[in-house]
Symmetry: C2
Subunit: 212 residues, 2 copies
Amino acid sequence: MSLGHALLALLETRPMTGYELAQQFDRSVIFVWHARHSQIYPELRRLEGDGLVRAETASRGTRATKRVYSITQEGCAELERWVTEVRLPTRERDAGYLKATYFEFVSFAIARRQFEAHLAHYRQLQEQWEDHAGELERRETALIKRRLSLAPERAHDAVVAYKVHVYRGLVERARTEVEWARRGLELVDRLEADAGAEPGLAVAPPVPPQAG
Amino acid sequence: MSLGHALLALLETRPMTGYELAQQFDRSVIFVWHARHSQIYPELRRLEGDGLVRAETASRGTRATKRVYSITQEGCAELERWVTEVRLPTRERDAGYLKATYFEFVSFAIARRQFEAHLAHYRQLQEQWEDHAGELERRETALIKRRLSLAPERAHDAVVAYKVHVYRGLVERARTEVEWARRGLELVDRLEADAGAEPGLAVAPPVPPQAG
DNA sequence: ACAGCCATGTAAGTCGTTACATGATTGC
DNA sequence: GCAATCATGTAACGACTTACATGGCTGT
């Protein structure tokens, strides 16, 4: 139930509507966790049912209303319990790496295209995360300002440092992926050179048993 | 549908029963993809329905039977299509990093325990993957031997090199995580020293609005 | 008037997990 | 006879995605 915990953590800074929470997921939380509004609204109802958040109906304009959620005492306790709990990461399941295991099924050109896409993707993430880490370090985001205003002065360094450590970790992760793709491209070059001239042909395409 | 493709790729080496496929997932494929038999059996039926694999009922012992699956021509075509297709990795969703973002909710001791668990986990994976990469490089596993026996001689280097590249990539990934956790532990030490003597107390526990 | 944002949902389907369930075969 | 392994499923549930659906508010 990590989505619920991400929501609780956001609500610990201030009460918000489902819409605002979804925006946070689109803007900043997306960097560590991703969720659509279609998942967020039902989850909020569930948290409310469990007493971890409380909803208040506020009016907007003349006719319309909105539901503003706040974290409860029980919600805070659950947050602490969750952060304390040790859980092993879920099993590896990476379609990109699985695919790369079988690049011999296709041509060097296609393998190259896959590595290039991988590289471009993680290079972009790397920049985004690096930017965000910088903003956190300089205490510029609305969320971190708000969070610091709630925490005792002596805790400020820790609050910032943990978050920066997470985002710099993600930057390193992205850098590792970029490097992997870069070395993958070198590998394709080398294999292609060794193979002599074999333009767009698959290296060793899959064949059904007995047929080949 | 990556589970289906992992199954197709395994069946490309030789016909197997669902049980054997599940064993491969427990033994070698688990390193890149993980699935239980309860997911594998229905998926095989689905692949059969789509004409990507063909099942043959073989007898075992006197009374019992088993279903031996082989990849079809269409299954091979689908494998090639899948490896060719460019797909961006799914969004980040890492409960460990999400948690670490909020380590100020708990004591330094608990933060330390979390980083230690992370480190131990990835150090173990790193070793497993490194061992497997070595076995592949030396062409020792049954699967790679079989695969090489089916491929033309000139493709052998590529078949091995792609797989080794994947596993070495996973090793690097695990190394990055180990380093992240190690630096996390250093961070906790530093923060604790800066904070003076605050034994098992949370740095800045979560509080509900207005209540605190 | 209209666009763009604010706001909240439901429904169908995929993917994966845990638990339940069964029975034959092989080797000791 | 018994344990380990071979072999194949189903059921309930949880997490997530895509698409469908609705309607008020705000500024130009």
